[in-house]
């Protein structure tokens, strides 16, 4: 028989965040009546050092073996309290959190009576669940000190070189025949007028020279299995197929400028895109005396509802180059909002205006009309429509996700957003990580970025990747599913339902789940017809206990 359950319940005032609505004293009194509860305490700020050290102290003094904290959201505070349990000498998973702030006091402010009842219920459910908590340990596995970077544009190459520079081997894959990405076709890079081909040429040379970087062109990722520290990657380059092991993967697959088919009379000759303009500028093959640039072509519209971030600056940069290339050239930029954010960009925008580039604003509901040799536009300053001469019309189109991003997202099992750009773990605080640990992203694959931004994102992703590579082993917490062989009937259901294809049948006809690969979703657990899969983190017993405690029992029944 296990030792007697001794649950400690800690109720947080959270200043007035909770205490302003809920009667904390009542909650404490109530919690005290629940089965297995050994002691109850209230704190003003449980998460503050005082609160946590108090928990540690009380757990030790009172010999508690389960801790329930009724406070705010576990999404931010659970780690703190788990650590606190560990400090106090009990398993960090002998901890359960009740959210009586976000889910109660803050959302039922005007309904104190019911809020109080709800808080009681929530605490009762948590205490019930706490009785079934199980200890969870950690385990570790070796890290393959090698990275795979997918995409050899400026972001991918910068990232690969940076990882190699840390002393790790890098597999660099490029789907095109040549490395270099979008920059190969560009002219100069703002604001310092760096020649794009020179910049990218140096990187290509460096990558090819570096023994630690193995470059593969015409490459495709075929299959990725395994998990952080130990990904097994199958890829092809031309006709050859390869299989290798890497510890981390960086997605730097870039994007492509939208081809403005059927927009503004685009014909690739007199009506061209900014990239086509750059190609002409690069060749010195340009004579147009009067150029009209149209911004937001195919962007910031209902079907493609995002701003592509960099096109305004591309247009401004190119308008300056036009001014340089053709004497007395007239350049008009028709825009909706100029995205010259920050210091450098705004300065360049000012410079363009000083040099006589004319900026005319248009509204989405009244767009410019491209006619033969002219562009008609409503001029808000003049309050009437004007017709601008246009030897050349240049359309600024957004960067869109590369066509294969969805396929790759499936191979890597990482998400893309509604615009098919790869979706980071958290838009604010984990911009370069995927939710799947061990996979990172940078550059246009994430969202359109300038060379500067792509570069620091690439270095940042290299940093994130190096964190894993710099350790011989990684530790993981055992919040994973495990098969109880004696109950397994070998039905293959888990094998089939796992979205990550982790479970396998072993030679005894029993399912097996590799804990390092298990992502801990619990899908197989819920599906196993024999209920043979244990999931200590959210076991059937725990969930059922919470269900059972939805209602206050007529009489408090002691479990033991």
């Amino acid at each position: 028989m296990e030792t007697e359950l001794r649950i400690g319940v800690f109720v947080c005032h959270c200043g007035i965040n909770i205490a302003g609505v809920l009667n904390i004293e009542d909650l404490c009194r109530y919690a005290d009546t629940l089965p297995n509860v050994a002691m109850v305490q209230a704190n003003v700020f449980t998460c503050a050092q005082k609160g946590t050290s108090e928990i540690e102290k009380v757990v030790k003094e009172q010999g508690l073996n389960r801790v329930v904290v009724a406070a705010c959201t576990p999404r931010t505070h659970e780690p703190i309290f788990r650590a606190c349990c560990q400090e106090a000498g009990i398993n960090p998973y002998f901890f359960e959190m009740v959210n009586i702030r976000e889910h109660c006091s803050w959302v039922h402010r005007h309904n104190k009576v019911y809020a109080q009842a709800k808080a009681r219920d929530l605490i009762r459910m948590a205490v019930a669940r706490a009785s079934f908590l199980e200890p969870i340990g950690t385990f570790s596995s070796r890290v393959e000190p090698k990275a795979m970077v997918i995409g050899a544009g400026v972001a991918g190459m910068t990232c690969a070189l940076a990882i190699a520079d840390q002393g790790f081997e890098v597999i660099l894959l490029e789907k095109e025949v040549r490395m270099g990405g979008l920059l190969r076709h560009l002219h100069k890079i703002a604001p310092c007028d760096v020649t794009a081909s020179k910049l990218i040429g140096e990187k290509v040379a460096a990558a090819e020279k570096d023994d630690r970087v193995k470059c593969f062109t015409s490459a495709r990722v075929e299959e990725v299995t395994g998990c952080i520290g130990n990904y097994v990657v199958k890829f092809s380059s031309g006709q050859e197929s390869y299989t290798d092991k890497v510890g981390v993967i960086v997605v730097a697959t870039g994007g492509v400028p939208l081809e403005p088919v059927d927009l503004f009379n685009y014909d690739g000759k007199r009506v061209i895109t900014q990239s086509q303009l750059e190609a002409r500028l690069k060749k010195g093959d340009i004579e147009a005396k009067s150029v009209v640039m149209i911004q937001c072509v195919g962007a910031r519209i209902p079907e493609r509802n995002y701003c592509s971030r960099i096109c305004c600056m591309v247009a401004i940069k190119n308008s300056l180059h036009m001014k340089k290339a053709v004497k007395d050239a007239k350049v008009f930029v028709l825009f909706r909002d100029i995205q010259a954010y920050g210091v450098e960009n705004e300065a360049l925008f000012l410079k363009a205006r000083e040099e006589g580039v004319r900026f005319i604003r248009y509204r989405l509901d009244n767009p410019p009309v491209v006619e033969d040799g002219r562009v008609r536009i409503y001029h808000p300053g003049m309050g009437k429509e004007v017709s601008l001469p246009a030897d050349l019309v240049v359309l600024s189109t957004p960067i869109v996700a590369s066509s294969d991003s969805e396929d790759l997202s499936k191979v890597l099992k990482v998400p893309v957003d509604e615009n098919k750009f790869f979706l980071e773990a958290h838009p604010k605080l984990s911009p370069l990580d995927f939710a799947t640990s061990g996979i990172y992203l940078c550059g246009n694959a994430r969202f359109p970025a300038t060379v500067r931004e792509a570069t620091y994102q690439a270095l940042g992703a290299a940093s994130r990747a190096s964190i894993i590579l710099s350790h011989d082993t990684i530790e993981r917490v055992g919040t994973v599913a495990a098969v109880e062989a004696e109950l397994c009937s070998g039905c293959f259901v888990c094998v089939k339902v796992c979205p990550y294809k982790v479970p396998r049948m072993n030679e005894n006809g029993k399912a097996e789940i590799e804990p390092m690969q298990c992502q801990g979703c619990g899908i197989c657990v819920a599906e196993c017809p024999a209920e043979a899969i244990r999931f200590r983190y959210a076991s059937d017993e725990q969930i059922t206990a919470a269900c059972n405690a939805l209602h206050a029992p007529q009489e408090i029944r002691s479990e033991n």
């Binding site: 309904n111 979703c521 899908i523 819920a526 059937d540």
Partner: protein, 139 residues
Amino acid sequence: MSSFEPLIAVFSCHYCSYAAADLAGSSRIQYPPNIRIIKVPCTGRVSANHILKALERGADGVYVAGCLEGTCHFISGNYKAQKRVQYVKALLSEINIEPERVEMHFMSAAQGSKFAAVAAEMTDVIKELGPSPLNHSRY
């Protein structure tokens, strides 16, 4: 029956709907106090039995709140949950319990207002249906 305040169990996934509930909280969006969240790592963890047990143990309604379609942190857990909800609905009609008492909802972590709206909607639906036939004694 106007005083009937239903008890509704919500299975919320850690990544989206629980976060949405948190957001509803931090945005102070007020909603009826009838729901009780049971957190799971993914709605794919919720089995038909969990839903049934919640009903058996006194919930007047149950809903599973998973990530938006196509954005499940675990790829397909929300769809699995949706299927199980369908299955439970079918089982319930066999024992003459309104299948509308059980529902599947999808929402993102950023949809605090949707979380609140769904909570309100479910509360209305269950109020309309009245207490669960299993709970007559309570009211």
